[in-house]
Symmetry: C2
Subunit: 238 residues, 2 copies
Amino acid sequence: MADLRTIGVLGGMGPEATVLLQRKLIEAVQPRDDSDHIPLLIDMNPQVPSRIAHLIESNGTDPGPTLAEMAQRLQTAGAVALAMPCNTAHHYAKAITDAVDIPLLNMVDLAADHAAKTLGTGGCVGLLASPAVRRIRLFETALSARGLSVIWPAKDQPMLDAIRAIKAGDAGTSPRDTLLSASTELAAAGAELQFVACSEFSIIADSVAPEANVLDTIDLLTSSIIETSRAGFSGKSE
Amino acid sequence: MADLRTIGVLGGMGPEATVLLQRKLIEAVQPRDDSDHIPLLIDMNPQVPSRIAHLIESNGTDPGPTLAEMAQRLQTAGAVALAMPCNTAHHYAKAITDAVDIPLLNMVDLAADHAAKTLGTGGCVGLLASPAVRRIRLFETALSARGLSVIWPAKDQPMLDAIRAIKAGDAGTSPRDTLLSASTELAAAGAELQFVACSEFSIIADSVAPEANVLDTIDLLTSSIIETSRAGFSGKSE
């Protein structure tokens, strides 16, 4: 398996989500030995300027240039493709792809493609994500281009509070209740599919409503990373 | 905390241990937000030639040149110091430090210093580690230089079997029983302090004998990484 190709990870947004992606990659491989695992170059940079501060509070530094520098550094170090386990940061996808010659395995596009394939035109997707993602219409843009509609929980503030709690190390009852309540609401409102589309919610994704059809965008990214890394092995081109 | 310095991680030996180090680093920080966490550049390279094959079976490729290249790449990318969450790979520490101008936070030296400080001259240290580490006398060299002796479990094969099981994804009853039995044996044989000094055993370190005084070398590395990263913040020099 020496032909596995190295994937660059724009990480640290937050560190927990970057660790979660690595754990999912380890678990997705059936290893005989270390060498079966996917090689990664991970820029764990928790100091990327806050996406929420920039997008919602409008008082923060633009994270775009920092992400572009990280992408260049990963390309220089040998990554053949990039992945970013942070949905919100995909707002800056263009700043990243403009800075490098290698592709970004875009988690939002992967999710939109999956929804279009499984639901077809006219499908309704519920979003369990950051109000920052809602404000920038990240998923609306990708899903409406594929003929799908998007619904959100009515109240933003509990979602934002839950994300901040998890970032501060509290993945306990309070954020879990918020996620359960939001996914129950979305299922009742007609969402045929729901995306956990916030790396903090990925950490507590087992707390969604049992009746909801929920998929975590980080799982789609995990599959895409493995496929892209193994493309060198199978001889498949991008 | 923008002055936190980036630490380079020679990782993937195995991937689980590299994830464990990140988890310990996350848990050791009391975060107010993402930006309090330690910035890392992680070369997750599960394709480093097998240390066990090279050191024990004598039929493998020398991992030294690969580790040297990884170290250079991390230095070029901006790391101010290196860390390697794999005890066995410290056999190749010189190949690494010869290749770069930045220090390696040497986990074996950190462990030996700690043992010397807490036990004093004449102390006896038990090793829960790979037979590869035993064969190359990695800890014997470091500890005897500080006036301490080293003892090992009588049988190598169960330890090797347990490491291979964990690398293959089995961190269950069988390797846990092996670790419990080995640490019980070492405590009875007079070890005043035991080191979990194998990244695979770190994953099941809660299975050591309850009566044993056990410290995981990866915890010493975790503390050293935080201290080194923050040295830029406090103005402390290396």
